[in-house]
């Protein structure tokens, strides 16, 4: 029987699978996957998550867009992930290009390749996947024969470091704009226009940024001189897209046939956050707050459990305890959870905002688990600077309550390297941990455990700290050593981030377009899986900076002037620069700005989305 080209391709793949670890990553075929006959749809979209299946398949954003696109009869969305190093080697040896899991099609067969970039350390994997797919790395090298490469996700609020590799960015929430991009592609495909015409069409869609149509010039010192459109279709700044009202949550989840990092029904109960922590990128760029109503959440959880058989549910948001109906929600969950013998995880609880009631219910629902709190800093002074105000007394009272409710393990998250941080602020982290452990032992006895997770502060774009330098690696190391010494023999378990990995993130998150050359070179030097502790190496990056003639310290350790044009200034995340400047000045004075649901500080979200707000639900996003 003669093989078609496609059958031959499948068999080629099948034959290398027994030689690699966890081959189940590369076969698809899961419950609830959508496979459409290839020729039955007009537009094929490959949704790419540039890390392995185990991680990417757990990503809610991917799952959501997959579902949304596949609801359209004229579109097929298929998935592709990064092969692990062994599979990549086997694929390159056998000449197998990156392929989708559903129809096992090479990515070159798709009209659109949509890449999810939730964090910066995926950039080298992104390039590696383009290369493995046989797609030219640079937008300018692609022709009408190549797929349109689009990207979205939290990292692309500063799109510049990967701008030359992406044809069009979707800035902000993707649910609507992705469909508009597909529409634009379809009407372009029916025309006889050039690829440049497609880019121009896309640039006309609100929330779409086409870097090839925007020029950037630099001052001799490397700072930006000007950013200007190369075409009248381009409007700068590019306003992010948001939904006035969240649609009903996803309830159709794929059920992987192999173990992945998160296997549960996840429902986003709320988007946005009003707390205004100054270090927090997500809290700034995801404004305003939009809550999902309790009945909608419960219905989605129930449907999700019916469709998956999962034994765990998770409620997602930036600050779950801030949902105005959290008690009603948790109450509503009780019967669902006990009937079905299901566990719950509820991350992101604010220390000061949850009541005894909430703790009672949580303890009864999930008696075995640990409890997590994120004071972020050890002293009240420091917490005021970062605008996460919390008195030592409040902290200890919550800690007491947690242990009294029966939890035995408490995990505390802190950051070091905050602006204006001194060694005594760091010392205080150790003291807080010890005091917490002592309190735990007094209440819960010898089974009380305290874990301190310490990460490094990285200044992020669109936050009040976007101008401050990243702390130099030596001081970070000094602070880590201080904590290690202070907690040695104390039974507090301490974990911390590799300062070199944080440094990479610091370079990339506030990079400009010139950094693309560094990313490209680092990839050529062998960098990939930079988010993986056991794969990440700093040397390919240092060499790449040297080769590109750029100074890494310029990106990490330089304090920016308040009037400098920043590489992401032409992207409007909804929060005005004037607001950020004011908030930064407040931080220098140690002044806090409490939750903005009580008082509006004019961050800019309302002026940016004035008209949209009127179409939203009553209550206007909790903005006063």
């Amino acid at each position: 029987m003669p093989f078609t080209h496609q059958e031959h391709f499948r068999q080629q793949v099948e034959r290398i699978l027994p030689t690699v670890a966890k081959p189940g990553r590369y076969v698809g075929g899961e419950l609830n996957q959508t496979v459409k006959p290839w020729d039955a749809v007009q537009t094929h979209v490959a949704l790419v998550f540039p890390d392995i299946y185990d991680l990417g398949q757990s990503n809610l954003g991917m799952a959501l867009l997959y579902d949304l696109l596949n609801q359209r009869a004229d579109v097929a969305a298929e998935r592709a992930f990064a092969p692990w190093v062994d599979m990549e080697a086997a694929m390159r040896t056998a000449g197998i290009p990156l392929f989708s899991l559903e129809n096992k099609r090479p990515l070159l067969d798709f009209e659109i390749v949509g890449v999810s970039l939730p964090y910066e350390t995926l950039y080298t994997n992104f390039l590696n996947l383009l290369d493995l797919a046989g797609i030219p790395l640079y937008s300018e090298q692609r022709t009408i024969e190549h797929p349109l490469v689009i990207a979205g996700g939290q990292a692309v609020y500063n799109p510049e470091p990967v701008a030359p590799f992406v044809d069009a960015f979707a800035i902000g929430e993707g649910e609507e704009v992705l469909l508009e991009i597909v529409d634009a592609h379809q009407s372009w495909a029916e025309s006889t226009q050039s690829r440049q015409d497609l880019l121009i069409r896309l640039a006309g869609i609100p929330g779409v940024y086409v870097p090839a149509l925007v020029d950037v010039t630099y001052h001799p010192d490397g700072t930006i001189q000007s950013v200007h459109p190369r075409h009248p279709a381009v409007n700068l700044p590019v306003d992010k897209r948001i939904l006035a009202k969240l649609p009903p949550p996803l309830s159709r989840f794929l059920v992987p046939n192999i173990e992945v990092v998160q296997e549960r029904v996840s429902v986003e109960i709320m988007r946005g956050c009003t707390r205004g922590c100054r270090f927090c990128h997500a809290g700034m760029v995801n404004r305003p707050i939009r809550e999902r109503p309790v009945p909608e959440i419960l219905a989605a959880l129930e449907a999700g459990l019916d469709q998956t058989g999962y034994e765990e549910i998770s409620l997602l948001s930036l600050s779950s305890s801030d949902h105005s109906e959290i008690i009603a929600l948790i109450d509503g969950l009780k019967s669902l959870l006990t009937e079905r013998q299901v566990n719950i995880t509820l991350p992101s609880l604010r220390i000061e905002s949850f009541s005894e009631d909430l703790m009672d219910v949580l303890q009864s629902l999930s008696p075995g688990g640990g409890f997590t709190l994120a004071p972020e800093a050890g002293t009240e002074r420091m917490r005021n600077i970062i605008n996460k105000p919390l008195s030592d007394k409040e902290l200890m009272s919550t800690v007491r309550s947690v242990f009294e409710h029966g939890w035995k393990t408490l995990k505390l998250y802190f950051m070091i390297g905050h602006p204006q941080e001194t060694l005594s602020d760091v010392q205080a982290i150790a003291e807080v941990c010890q005091a917490v452990l002592q309190e735990g032992r007094r209440i819960a006895g010898g089974r009380a455990r305290v874990h301190a997770g310490v990460s490094t502060f990285i200044p992020k774009p669109h936050t009040p700290f976007q101008w401050v330098p990243f702390e130099d690696t030596e001081s970070i190391q000094t602070k880590i050593t201080l904590l290690q010494d202070a907690l040695r023999g104390s039974k507090v378990k301490l974990t911390w981030n590799d300062p070199q990995a944080s440094l990479l993130e610091a370079w990339l998150s506030r990079g400009d377009r010139r950094l693309a050359a560094v990313i490209h070179r680092a990839w050529e030097n062998g960098a990939r899986f930079d988010a993986w502790g056991d794969q990440f190496q700093i040397e390919p990056w240092r060499a790449a900076f040297a080769d590109s003639g750029l100074d890494p310290d310029f990106y990490s350790f330089r304090a920016r002037d308040l009037d400098e044009t920043l590489p992401w200034d032409h992207i409007n995340a909804g929060v005005r620069k004037a607001f950020l400047v004011r908030d930064y000045r407040y931080s220098l004075a140690g002044k806090i700005r409490p939750d903005c649901r009580g008082q509006c500080y004019a961050c800019g979200i309302l002026s940016s989305f004035d008209e949209l707000r009127l179409t939203g639900p009553d209550g206007g996003w909790k903005c006063p």
């Binding site: 075929g29 899961e30 419950l31 173990e259 296997e263 019916d306 058989g309 999962y310 688990g369």
Partner: protein, 223 residues
């Protein structure tokens, strides 16, 4: 959560197809647990913080194999008509897993693993094989009194685990192999080890388990 004795034990015969080839034994257990949860049947859970469905698989199928004959027991807290159970399981099965039949089993019967005796396998090669050459390889392997095979740095004698080994014509018309290997607790033969002894790497073939052979119980052996 009931602490009383479960009231029924159900044995399922099912097949494991191509799309589940690379779902290993532990993952398959989790897959079954979820299948049972989706079915809405009154399944029996274990006690504790993280209740799991109580289930028991007859014999681990190595990664990369497909199978026509897998079996599993699960327990329920209430009884249900067998046709209803069959329907519910079929509706809840993921792609690649086909439910063949269900039957009721005595609560006191030995665990499936304990009753395992042997497994039969058919090997289809990706590339056409010369029948004569394959015959010679098979005969010379079977002529050995001892086959010292190294698996994960451990040496064991493969020969006593081989009950039958024959060259056959597989459904595609090509030359393949059929074998029956011992599968008792602590003495389970692996077809991929045997194929390695014949000189075939695991990229050269697809193995299908065609039948499980169990010790006599109150269960009819499938045709």
């Amino acid at each position: 959560m009931s602490t009383e004795t479960p009231i029924s034990r159900i044995r399922v015969r099912y097949t494991k197809g191509e799309s589940l080839r690379f779902t290993g034994h532990l993952d398959l257990q989790r897959l079954w647990e979820r299948l049972l949860r989706r079915s809405g049947l009154p399944i029996r859970y274990t006690q504790g913080y993280h209740p799991r469905a109580r289930l028991n698989l007859a014999s681990a199928l190595p990664l990369g194999f497909v199978s026509d004959d897998e079996r599993l027991d699960f327990w329920m807290d209430e009884s249900r008509p067998l046709e209803e159970i069959l329907d519910q399981l079929r509706c809840s099965a993921p792609p690649g897993l086909e439910i063949q039949s269900v039957r009721m089993v005595d609560l006191g019967e030995d665990a499936l693993q304990v009753r395992m005796k042997a497994s039969e396998f058919v090997v289809a090669f990706y590339d056409p094989q010369d029948r004569e050459v394959l015959m010679r390889k098979v005969n010379s392997l079977l002529a050995q009194e001892e086959i010292q095979h190294v698996r994960r740095k451990k040496v064991y004698d493969l020969r006593p685990l081989i009950l039958n080994l024959e060259v056959i014509t597989v459904p595609s018309g090509d030359t393949g192999l059929w074998m029956r290997l011992l599968a008792e607790p602590g003495a389970t033969g692996r077809p991929d080890d045997l194929l390695e002894e014949l000189g075939y790497p695991n990229t050269a073939y697809l193995i299908r388990r065609t039948q499980l052979i169990l010790a006599e119980g109150n269960e009819c052996t499938p045709p």
